[in-house]
């Protein structure tokens, strides 16, 4: 309730957050010229300090939802993923090909800062590094430039046009869908590559695409569900290391009844089956998503004059299904890899089982990949991918990544198959598109009953 009051109070000032609204100048009278974050700090020091401590800035946080968090503060800054691996050696800088085209700019492209890495200790320099406008200003865009000292910094593309910059900097609101999607839909190297269920299409979709965000549906903003205070955002999903808001998980039942169906059998299902499982039949419905990323086999793209990992894209993907009780297991850096029964290393695995009464069956994007590990220590090795995009030298990229992560001048490494389960929560469709009984219980249904601990379909078993 407290969150709702805060949200309404801010909306009263900032106006509603809806896609397609004309820009509103909410800060016209508050300052004359925007001169960087210092202008915001004049009134919003407290907010900047709260944001500094958030996951959106720190890229790490407390890990109460990891079974092997062990009190560490973890996040994308100090763990490894199976997309571009780690910000460590890939933080910032333009990488160009032989034609001069920019191929990559580093992970900081989607950090809400102006180029400096987030530090754990608060300072004036760190507060001035916060880029308030990337989340709060409609029409704000930035690019990478060199400052007077030759350091790469993110600056507004309007930095030479003070009247234009002032106008944009005064259009302050709570984050609208398109502001969140700038980073969350473009992560992983391409549109919808990483998440699968967070597409640019959500910025202006209809109810048939998503009942919550559709303009003819509830027309909700991201922050209507991902509520929070002090810049801490609820809803970690299943594959983030840190939890910004510890406590009860974000759940459909916060708005919907626990037993919302007309048919009792469906309500009975809901006790062990997550809402998303039936109501999000497929994901990546507009843009294909990265389902496999094999870094061991560089791929040359002649037209773009660049290299990439071998990426398998798929569209309209049927999710993988697994039990999940809200906890996850991470494969940390600097620890021997834990090999699963299928021979893969689980980068992030949902926890829970049929016997776990706190677990339900959830839909996931099951992302697979191939990553390097140290031959002796069996530790995952991040890859310095940025220069690789231009020169295609994966061996050099692995060695540089190993040096950055572990300080080793020379390494021996091998390749291992990895997998990550990423929860599917967006793209909830109208009820007429929800799964039907036979989608799971029919011949060749979509659930792998054995993997879920049933041996066989319990309904068909009962009918025998």
């Amino acid at each position: 309730m407290k969150h709702a009051i805060i949200l309404l109070a801010v909306l009263a000032v900032a106006g509603p957050s809806r896609a397609g609204d004309p820009p509103v100048s909410t800060h016209q009278e508050y300052f004359e010229h925007y001169e960087g974050t210092a202008t915001c700090l004049g009134c919003h020091q407290e907010e900047a300090e709260s944001f500094f401590h958030s996951q959106h800035y720190q890229w790490r946080g407390e890990t109460p939802d990891l079974v092997n968090g062990e009190g560490r503060r973890l996040g994308k800054l100090n763990t490894m993923n199976d997309f571009c691996t780690s910000p460590g050696a890939n933080w910032i800088g333009n990488v160009t090909n032989s034609d001069g085209a920019v191929l990559a700019q580093g992970c900081s492209k989607c950090h809400a800062g102006l180029g400096k890495r987030p530090e754990p200790v608060l300072s004036r320099e760190q507060l001035e590094n916060i880029d308030c406008l990337i989340c709060h200003a409609s029409g704000y865009r930035r690019d990478l430039y060199q400052d007077a000292a030759g350091e790469a910094v993110w600056k507004p593309i309007l930095w030479r046009n003070q009247p234009g910059l002032d106008s944009v900097a005064k259009r302050i609101s709570l984050p609208k869908r398109e502001m969140c999607l700038r980073c969350h839909a473009g992560a992983g190297g391409g549109q919808n590559y990483k998440r699968g269920d967070i597409e640019y299409a959500l910025a202006g979709c209809d109810r048939d695409y998503d009942v919550h965000m559709g303009s003819d549906g509830q027309d909700m903003a991201c922050i209507d569900c991902h509520t929070g205070a002090d810049h801490r955002v609820r809803g970690r999903g299943a594959d983030l290391s840190g939890t910004d808001v510890p406590g009860p998980r974000l759940a459909c039942a916060e708005c919907h009844d626990e037993a919302p169906h007309a048919e009792p059998v469906l309500d009975a299902h809901a006790r062990r089956v997550a809402c998303e499982t039936c109501h999000i039949p497929t994901f990546a419905r507009t843009d294909p998503t990265d389902m496999v990323r094999d870094w061991s086999t560089p791929q040359r793209h002649e037209a773009a004059n660049k290299f990439s990992a071998t990426i398998t894209l798929e569209k309209d993907v049927v999710p993988a299904y697994a039990w999940w009780n809200g906890k996850s297991r991470l494969q940390p850096l600097g620890e021997p890899v834990r090999v699963e029964k299928d021979g893969t290393v689980g980068i992030m695995l949902p926890q829970g089982s049929r016997k776990d009464r706190g677990a339900r069956i959830y839909p996931f994007k099951l992302h697979r990949g191939r990553l390097p590990v140290l031959a002796d220590e069996r530790w995952l090795v991040p890859i310095a991918v940025e220069e690789f995009f231009a020169d295609g030298d994966i061996d050099k990229a692995v060695r540089e990544g190993g040096h950055d992560a572990y300080g080793r001048e020379a390494i021996d490494y091998e390749w291992v198959d990895v997998k990550r389960y990423m929860g599917i929560y967006h793209g909830v469709r109208p009820v007429e598109h929800a799964l039907q009984c036979l989608d799971c219980h029919g011949e060749g249904g979509r659930l792998d009953w054995a993997a879920l601990g049933y041996g066989e379909d319990p309904v068909r078993k009962r009918l025998k």
């Binding site: 820009p23 409609s138 029409g139 704000y140 865009r141 593309i157 309007l158 030479r160 046009n161 003070q162 009247p163 234009g164 106008s167 944009v168 398109e178």
Partner: protein, 120 residues
């Protein structure tokens, strides 16, 4: 901070709007290519380090482009000729249709649009 589209630089900008037809016929039918027009008429003298100043769609916001085409373009280009050798008036050489195509391109690629453009 420099002024937007004022001063001597405008003379050079005006000279860019030459009289050649772009992207097919001008007599109706085909839609004019605003990007091509901008590139051929503006970009040649408004590239990086140009004396007239660099301009691409994303150097201004939509509100500024709207004001420029509605209020400033005609006044600032009045009397200017296409080039030293071509004395055609810029305002005559650029048809309303061509101007609209350029305006639409600038608006769609403005700094506060969804996809800011540099015009190649």
């Amino acid at each position: 901070m420099r002024k937007i589209l004022s001063g001597p630089g405008l003379l050079v900008l005006a000279l860019l709007f030459a009289a050649t037809a772009v992207a097919g016929d001008e007599g109706g039918g085909k839609k004019l290519d605003g990007k091509q027009l901008f590139k051929e008429r503006c970009k040649t003298c408004h590239g990086a380090d140009a004396p007239a100043g660099e301009y691409t769609p994303m150097f201004l916001i939509q509100e500024q482009w709207t004001k420029f085409f509605a209020e400033d373009y005609a006044a600032t280009h009045k009397g200017l000729t296409v080039s030293a050798t071509d004395t055609t008036k810029v305002l005559d050489a650029i048809t309303p249709e061509m101007l609209e195509a350029i305006r639409a391109f600038c608006h769609e690629g403005a700094a506060d649009s969804e996809h800011p453009m540099t015009c190649g």
